[in-house]
């Protein structure tokens, strides 16, 4: 039985979309990884700068009093 790798799965999934959807899909994928392959995940962004996520308690202490709005 042939092995179907995750990469082949992704290729096959993308191939299901019509050509007119390709620009939007390319844009969507580019938000997670730049053209030169740099990981743009939050985890990678913090790691690039030698940082670690603030704990929930620390976040509340520093930013718990900030106002919110109805978006995001």
């Amino acid at each position: 039985m042939p092995t179907v790798t995750t990469r082949e799965t992704v290729h096959a999934l993308v191939d299901r979309y019509p050509d007119e959807d390709m620009p939007a899909i390319a844009e969507l994928l580019s938000y997670r990884r730049s053209a030169n392959g740099t990981d743009l995940s939050a985890k990678a962004i913090l790691a690039r700068h030698g940082a670690t996520p603030l704990s929930a308690e620390e976040f509340e202490r520093h930013f718990g009093d900030l106002p919110t709005d109805d978006e995001g």
Partner: protein, 148 residues
């Protein structure tokens, strides 16, 4: 006469890879607005806390941005926004790291908002959701050569 307490300045760290990628999808005006903000951050050593808002753990737009803050560009009601991830910084107690820069309310259909881009970067969506799945119609050439 009221004595208003001085505004707290929050350190900001710009991730050039993320910001650079986001600018590729934005107008020149968005780049100009960001440049202005960056000059202010450089001048002041960060962003006044009064220009920050807290993101929602479960937003009405479906995004889940707990642990994040945001600002509007230009302040106070510009069309663009930055979402920040709070982190323990190696040089100081904490800082805000730019997670995404983009349109708050995209005008083009299908274009993600800055909040949606930030949400995609927070979640390990691609790796988790597709792992182990097989396509209904396999790729044209399937071989027994698993990738490394």
């Amino acid at each position: 006469m009221t004595n208003k307490p001085p505004d707290v300045i929050v350190p900001i760290v710009f991730d050039e890879d993320a910001i650079g990628t986001d600018l590729e999808h934005l107008s020149d005006a968005a780049g100009t607005a960001l440049d202005q903000l960056r000059r202010e951050v450089d001048r002041d050593g960060g962003l006044p806390k009064s220009r920050l808002l807290r993101c929602q753990p479960e937003g009405r737009d479906g995004t889940r941005l707990g642990g994040c803050t945001k600002t509007r560009v230009p302040w106070p009601d510009g069309p663009w926004g930055i979402v920040f991830r709070a982190g323990e910084d190696p040089k100081r107690p904490f800082a805000l790291y730019t997670l995404a820069y983009g349109e708050r309310h995209p005008t083009r259909a299908g274009k993600p908002s800055v909040y949606e881009v930030a949400g995609q970067r927070l979640e390990e969506i691609l790796a988790r959701d597709l792992r182990g799945q097989e396509p209904d119609t396999p790729a044209a050439t399937t071989q027994d050569t698993p990738e490394g």
